[in-house]
């Protein structure tokens, strides 16, 4: 039984890594077409780094991810604090509203934002679809994830700690800064990292809210795949997988050290 379970597990892992391995192998393959290995080369990487447009798309991707992560982490953390700390009217409505970006399919989220931007632009002539609208869209789904992650951390907190600070005469802001925030920091960092990687990964919402001149890496990969792939995409994908593995490894080591 135990043997069967382990064979099953390793077959699933093979399934998970086979396609990634194929891409990595092809990124070093001399041949332009097919999977027959005709020789080892770094050519596709050289071409990738000489492709100025890719640098521009990478910059766009990072601008969107950094700006939207900062905004959504602040908004989402405050929201989580307020929702756990206070009871107020419409609290349930707000809770359901929070679930919407998490459960509704991306395509619906993307087109509803496209409609919003279109209606507002028809009315006031602004905003054009651009990096700015992509950022607005990304914040809108990131807030929900940040709030839910931070809220989970907040619910583990002992309320006596905050009450003690207040009894000692701390103002609400001082209590938040000196007591609450340090205690929920691991949740805030996790939320921010999740928001950041959701932004980097997002294709669908970006697809509907991007305009001319605001191409991101996922948009570029999509159009390359549609038009017929060049092996540069293999090199780009390999690098992106490499960065993913590196970040996850560092993250794991970081958390292990803390705990």
């Amino acid at each position: 039984m135990k043997r069967l379970l382990s064979i099953h597990a390793w077959l699933v892992f093979a399934f998970l890594y086979l396609p990634i391995a194929v891409i990595v192998a092809l990124s070093f393959n001399q041949s332009r077409f097919g999977v027959r290995f005709t020789g080892f080369t770094f050519d596709w990487y050289v071409r990738l780094f000489n492709n100025e447009r890719i640098l521009e798309y990478l910059t766009n991707t990072l601008i969107v991810a950094v700006v939207s992560t900062i905004a959504s982490t602040i908004l989402g953390t405050l929201l989580a604090v307020g929702m756990v700390r206070y009871r107020f009217r419409l609290q349930n409505a707000l809770r359901y509203l929070l679930y919407v970006p998490v459960v509704v399919p991306d395509v619906v989220m993307g087109i509803s934002l496209l409609l919003l931007f279109d209606v507002v632009r028809d009315a006031v002539g602004w905003p054009r679809l651009s990096l700015f609208t992509i950022i607005l869209a990304h914040i809108s789904f990131q807030i929900a994830y940040v709030t839910l992650v931070v809220r989970a951390r907040l619910m583990l907190l002992d309320p006596a700690l905050e009450e003690a600070a207040k009894d000692l005469g701390a103002t609400p802001w001082l209590t938040f800064r000196e007591v609450t925030l340090p205690l929920i920091m691991p949740g805030v960092v996790s939320g921010a990292l999740l928001a950041f990687s959701l932004s980097l990964d997002d294709f669908v919402v970006t697809f509907f809210t991007a305009g001319p001149g605001s191409t991101t890496l996922p948009l570029y990969i999509y159009s390359s795949v549609k038009l017929g792939v060049s092996p540069e995409i293999h090199a780009l994908s390999t690098l992106m997988v490499g960065v993913t593995i590196l970040v996850l490894l560092l993250g794991t080591l970081f958390w292990r050290k803390r705990t």
């Binding site: 399934f15 999977v35 619906v108 207040k166």
Partner: protein, 287 residues
């Protein structure tokens, strides 16, 4: 201590914390959904713009055309079977990881594809399935003629299972981690044989995780358009593709909005059924 702060001060604090986030969600989640609802009741103008008259015509068209019913059916069908395959692959895997000595490493092996860019994961299957790809090299190595594997429903299935497998394994793993194994021993002590002992003592403890994982996979699998677009190449039209098409080349935003409302209604119905079986708490567990 809450009494110490006056009602005015309390209101100020609520507005300060909740206010900005709630305002954002209202403006960028609630309002767009309402606009989509209104748009779904409008008509397509000669240039593709949204114009009156208002009415239920888009919905009537959607539900009276067998083609669109077929698209809905296909989306649900592919979503359902992909999810079933994912459960078959992921359920034993979660147990294997939970009982392994190298939990952390194995978990990381599941998380890496999960955090690998979605488009790269889909694209990887194009590489495997393409005419001169890995699968066809295997087939021709056996002396068989190469097969047309792209576009195909098979490719859509494989990529869907591949893409969403980690979404299922991670919540299920969390459930397996919390299992009370003493119940299994109790079942053995009472003379149950392995399969029955598992079924009666362990399986019920994984049901909430199973439900959560199922929904986490099923909803995006039904709603996606990218996988069917890239690997089904127009041969496999799902509701997501229909929506994208209406907002793209077909330029019929009103009808596309109606199709989106239908998809959203299906999702909310699924969540409602889930909340009824798992309770309110279940919703929190989902995310």
């Amino acid at each position: 201590m809450r009494e110490a702060a006056g009602p005015r001060e309390r209101l100020r604090q609520v507005l300060l914390t909740i206010g900005p986030g709630a305002l954002w969600l209202g403006l960028f989640v609630l309002v767009p959904t309402l606009i989509m609802l209104v748009a779904s009741l409008m008509s397509r103008g000669s240039l593709g713009q949204l114009v009156p008259p208002f009415g239920l015509h888009n919905y009537l068209r959607f539900f009276s055309d067998p083609l669109f019913i077929e698209i809905i059916g296909r989306s649900l069908w592919i979503g359902f079977w992909s999810t079933v395959f994912i459960v078959l692959l992921g359920y034993p895997l979660a147990f294997y990881i939970a009982q392994s000595r190298n939990k952390e490493v194995l978990l990381l092996l599941v998380v890496i594809p999960f955090f690998t860019n979605f488009l790269i994961r889909v694209y990887a299957w194009i590489v495997v399935f393409q005419k001169e790809g890995l699968l066809n090299s295997l087939i021709t190595a056996f002396g068989l003629p190469p097969a047309e594997l792209l576009p195909s429903t098979l490719a859509v299935y494989v990529a869907t299972v591949y893409t969403y497998l980690p979404f299922f394994v991670l919540p299920l793993y969390a459930a397996v981690e919390r299992i009370d194994w003493s119940l299994l021993e109790a079942a053995y002590d009472l003379g149950a044989r392995p399969i029955r002992a598992f079924w009666e003592s362990i399986f019920p403890q994984t049901v909430p995780g199973l439900f959560a994982g199922f929904l986490l996979v099923f909803i995006p699998a039904v709603g996606t358009f990218v996988i069917a677009d890239l690997l089904g190449g127009g041969k496999v039209t799902l509701i997501g593709n229909l929506i994208q098409l209406q907002f793209g080349s077909a330029q019929n935003w009103a009808f596309g909005s109606a199709a989106s409302m239908v998809l959203m209604a299906m999702v909310l119905l699924g969540l409602w059924l889930y909340a009824r079986t798992q309770g309110e708490k279940g919703l929190d567990k989902l995310v």
